[in-house]
Amino acid sequence: MSQGSCFHCHEPIPDGLELTVEILNKPRSMCCLGCHAVAESIVEAGLTDYYKHRTDVAGKIEGDLVPDALKLQFERLDMAEIQDEFCTTEGNSKEALLSLDGVRCAACAWLIEKHLSRQAGVVRATVNSSTHRLLLRWDPAQAALSKLLKSLAELGYQALPYDKEVEDKSYQDKKQSFLIRIGVSALASMQVMMFAVALYFGVFDMEPHQQSYLRWVSLLMATPVICYAAWPFYLSAITSIKARHPNMDVPVSIALILAFIASSYATIYQTGEVYFESISMFTFFLLLGRYAELVARHRGNARSANAVKLLPAVVHRLTEYGVETVPVKQILAGQRLLLKPGETLAVDGVIVKGASHVDLSVLTGEHEPIAKTVGDTVFAGVINQEQPLEIEVTEVKDTMVASIVRMQEQALASRAKPVQFADKVARYFVIALLIVASATATFWYFNRPEDALWITLAVLVATCPCALSLATPTAITAGISRLGASGVIAKTADLLDQLASIDRIAFDKTGTLTHGTLSVNDVACYSDDIDTQQALALAASLEAGANHPLADAIVNAAAANQSRVLVANNIQLMSGFGVCGEVNGQRFYLGSPQYIEQQHAGAAPSHRVLLANEQQVLAGFDFIDPPRSDAAQLIKQLQQLGVSTAVVSGDQQTHTATLADKLAISDAVGNCTPEDKLAWVQQKQANGEAVLMVGDGINDGPVLSQANASIAISTGTDIAKRSADAVLLGSKLIPIATAIRVGQQTKRIIRQNLAWALGYNLVVLPLAVSGMLPPYIAVIGMSASSLIVVVNAMRIERLKS
């Protein structure tokens, strides 16, 4: 633990902050109140073992541990009709599957289980640390669900109901069937290998009846492998032939089935060679590779599916008798709803009464509130920031968010996947191999009919595209797992291939290159009576009760400057413009230049927010969204990798250009609508560049799909994460550079593997065709070439970041 980093989350500690908690008999420094509170509750609960055994640091806790909005959301989950949607009731207790936010390693799972099982009313709590799900069984008579969730939030973990129907079931079934197949093929292969050792090495002093016996038991053990464990390959082969795109499973299946039939023939008629051990091991290795791929892919999906934040399930409906709270399901278009401050809208609608700032970040990724008033359309997912709004419902089911999600899914499904090089090679190879094998069979049938079958099989076995079919999947699996280790969760196997050929990376600005939260950058004083500290103090006093990013930034800056915040009276809020109030009996105005100009006729200095008294403008505030700490380092590394960079943002051109200058990014495009972003990427692609897009907002959705490869930030919107090829976990950007290097390395290794496998096959083919290759050499050659390919692929995992 370095001196300057938080014991809880390892983030740097701000200067001058002294917060310590005694953990494991030593005072430990904390970086913020959030971490401090969490660490204290862990210590108080006697759960410090967590710190001893964790293998990853905890997430930084920013702001309130349990924000009011979250509290509201939790409380709604106590309503019986809502609980019916995600709970199963058994006797006195209820059971729910919850998704967890903030789980980093197995120690977190222990911490959560331990903490929950101590709460009154909890019957059982089980955490799955790889899928980040919590299965909670509790007694509603003793504890409300909201109370349990709140106590969990106090430890820094957010749990919300998870719809288990989504895709878990089919994945679980698939995974289990794979595991059983792997187990069967592994155990059977071990046996068959032992018999094979006896057969190869004891063959000379073994009596024929013993040899025949060993062959029969090998046949017995290999049968379940070929008839059961290898089944998925046959299915995939048949599907691919039906689709007229024979994949590698075709030669795999042909080789397996033919070798098995030929070996069985050899066993029954006691002539020729048997290859039971080779085909069993072959099946086992192939299954392992497929399983690893399945798990890696699912892990990426599960983590992003967890981040699906529930839209509220209840709304306040306005009727002639007053306000009633009803489930969203009962809402019809045309009805009126009341949206209180802090609430999330669950449907699309038009504002019919009231004016307020709303947070559109779920749609745009930009957290800055936008002023909305009567007649404006608001979409599901917006969060009301200030004043109550009356909304007439226009759409309940097919909301903007829902339709964007659907469009994304269609775009993803229709996106032409680049046909992989290996697949193409294997396809031609398969066809060539089949032709050569039948030619060999024909030739030897007319010359030495008694040997024809065996020579043909030698051709099929020796040149079995085993190494060829392992070459790409093993490298890709190793690459994906290497990516996962560095915090990039790949959702498609194509990602690595595309990362390797990237010419340009385009970043979204807010929330991607930056944290997406504003802070005060500059305070300009326009009066001699006031200094920075006082200006901040006054502004913070006026904004103390407000709840939007600019106000938060001012309040934070005042706290950082140790300005004494005073009490403001008679506060009047002009939504979207500014605020005025009395401090120490004097009237002050704080707001946009337009707002100040209304108070004082005449031009106001150009700042984002101005502070004025009744006579004159006192101070101006400018804000900045600071870039992530490692953004500059990332850009430097990318330049070393020969990748050009660009920032494409919906923010103003000047802001975008300033940030690009600061980080040494070559191109900056501001004022972009989602369509502009899309057009920009299309234009670059038309120029022959392969573009990697990194983004976080819903407005990045289309461009993430369009780009050759895309990475979404894990704190970004769900839409972005769905449309991207990969999700970047954590708050560091550097893994993006690592990911590109892993992609390049993977591509290199795939080429080496293919070259080796093809080379081996081409050398061995003439030998086998001419009947010069003894069968055991064919088997050894096949196994050795596969082994080399697998070991080569594992080098990717050792790549340093």
Binding site: A45, K52, V184, L220
Partner: protein, 55 residues
């Protein structure tokens, strides 16, 4: 070497039992979370309350 006529069937029997046990383990979800249970042995059930802190 006549013994192999006895030993190998026994070995095959063991394999069948092993496969049976493995299938049971998979079906009862024991392979769902491999990280978690590997570390659970590290954690004490109860932290000795040496500091006299309130639980």
């Amino acid at each position: 070497m006549a013994i192999i006529y006895v030993l190998i069937p026994i070995a095959i029997l063991f394999i069948c039992v092993a496969i049976g046990v493995f299938v049971w383990a998979v079906k009862s979800n024991q392979f769902d979370d491999l990280e978690r249970h590997g570390t659970s042995v590290l954690f004490d059930d109860d932290e000795p309350d040496d500091k006299g802190q309130a639980k």
